[in-house]
Every structure is written in C-alpha cells, then in structure tokens.
C-alpha cells in the first residue's frame, strides 16, 4: 500500500520546476532489512514522457526529487510515477502553477 505523494510544479523563466515527495521505505537490504526500493521514476508532461530514470537503493527513505523541464506553461499537466522492485507503483498528477 503506497503512501501519499505530494508534488508542486511552477513555471519560471521559461522553465518548469517540479518538486515531488514520495513515500517509500527505500531499504537497502543491509542490516537485516529487506531490499525494497523505488527502481524507476517516470515524468510525463502533457502525456508525453520526458524523463525516464532508474534510481538505486542508495536513495533515502521518503525521497524528494526536484528537476527542471525546458519550457512548459501554466495549466500543463505533469505526471510523476514510480515502480519499485516488488512491482508496486504509485503516481501523482498536478497542473503547472
């Protein structure tokens, strides 16, 4: 059961700044914990995939990601989704402010 996600996308100086908070234990498999982490993060702008990334278990629990997209305008739709190593997913959609 995936925890809450929060996202903020704002347009400034011809770019769209996106900040997204994800809930995930991101455990490394060390110290008796299971290996359980987000592996893929995908970002879509108005339905078109603009970022496809692979991240590792080195990333902290409840990670916060921040990135900048070229262009974009107020009202555009940003979608961030993730897939973890157990096949669980979550996603969030927000309008650019």
């Amino acid at each position: 059961m995936a925890g809450p996600m929060k996202m903020r996308a704002t347009v400034a100086g011809g770019n769209t700044d996106v900040r997204v908070l994800m809930t995930h234990p991101m455990t490394t498999g060390q110290g008796g914990q299971a290996l359980y982490f987000i592996q893929n993060v995908t970002v879509k702008h108005n339905g078109r995939t603009v970022i496809e990334s692979e991240i590792s278990q080195a990333v902290s629990r409840n990670p916060v990601f921040s990135f900048r997209l070229k262009g974009g305008a107020k009202g555009d739709t940003i979608e961030v989704s993730w897939l973890d190593n157990k096949g669980e997913t979550n996603k969030i959609e927000a309008a650019v402010a």
């Binding site: 929060k6 996202m7 903020r8 908070l21 809930t23 902290s60 629990r61 409840n62 916060v64 921040s66």
Partner: protein
Amino acid sequence: MREIQRYRQMVSEDSPAELFEVEGEALWKKPQGPKQASLEKCDLGLGPGVLKGAYAQLPRYFKDADRVMDLETRLLHCMMALQGRSREEATQRVFGNADRPSEMESLSAYIATQSRGMKMAPGLSHPKEKEAYELGRALYFQRTGPWDFACTSCHGEESKRIRMQALPVLLKPEQARPVVASWPAYRISTSAFITLQWRMNDCYRQMRLPEPAFGSDTTVALIHFITVTGKGEPYRGPGNKR
C-alpha cells in the same frame, strides 16, 4: 551563501516532514482516551483549537496548569485534561522512530508548520516565565555528572564542533535564532522526526546524566531559555537536519 539558502528553500518545500504533518493532523482530530475526545479544543495559548501562530508564542505560562509549558508539555496536558488519559499512558512512547513516529512528534510537526513565517515570541512578562528563563540559564552552566559536563561544555565556545557537527553557542541571540526557527525537524540520517523534548533528553543521555522527565520544569526551562535567546526570528520550520 546564496546557494545554501536556495538549497534550504528547496528542502523546506515538499520535505518528508510533511508526511509527519499529515499524520499529526489526523491525531489532532482523533477521539482518544476514556473521554473519547479529540485534541481540537486544546488551548495552546491563543484560545481553544487555535493553531495558527500557536507554536511561535511558546513556551509560555498557562494559568490552568500554573506553570510554563512548551508545545509538547502542553500537548500532554491536553491529552490528560481533554482526553482523560493518564500521564503514564500518554508518555509511554514519547520518542518514536522512522517506522513509527510518536504522537508527540507527529502533532508537533502539524502544529509547528502553522507558525511558519511568524516571529518567535515566547512568553516574557509573567513572573514564572522569568523564573523559567533564569532556571534555564542556570542549568545551561551547571557542570555535573561523571564527565563534568554542562551545556557550555559543547555549546559554550565559538566555532567548535563535535566530530563534524557544528555546535551553536545558544547563549548568543544570533546563533540561537536559526536554531529556534528550525525545530522540530526531520532528521535525514535516521528518517525520523525529532523534537526539542527529544533533544534535551538525548543531550542529558550523552552528558552521562540521569534521564529528565518528559515535560519537566528542567526541560521546559532549557527550551524556554533558548527560545527567548532566539526570539524575533521568523519561524521556518519544521526544518530538515542531517
């Protein structure tokens, strides 16, 4: 300096602290205890249920308890008075961990965030507030325990660090101000949420002293002393720490 300020602004928005704030809101509204009441009528100093700006005016004197209280002490008071919970039950687990934060931690996050941008203004006029300040100051200098430590042993001299952790001199307003503006906080290295009652408790542990009671005059006095020294700073929390 500009880059660190930009970084700080970045991490203050959409910080994992928000997850604790969400949990805190749920706890604030949840009926609990023998009286099956929520905390929504808890008076944190600005009237029952008033949360906006409440954290920024703490610690302060409360007439109904006839003592100075910080946020966590006041929450405990409300848990007992409004919800009918016993001190023992309500303080059974005041400090949590990454997997399960304590009620105090989540509630602190929820309430603190609603003072963002407001100037820290702890109580200064009531005789007991002055007393708490003086007691806090005296405790800050008190050398005791098997290692002869006082707060000053670490937090008494300019530009010192313990291992790689910089140590603010909390006697100086310019160093106390950023501190009071950023507690309680999300601690990145443990993924946990930490509060000032926890910090006082953990300092005493590391000073090789016996444990201070949660919400005791000792802990409240120290928190009050530090907050008064840092007063006037616009609150920026809940913060993020290493």
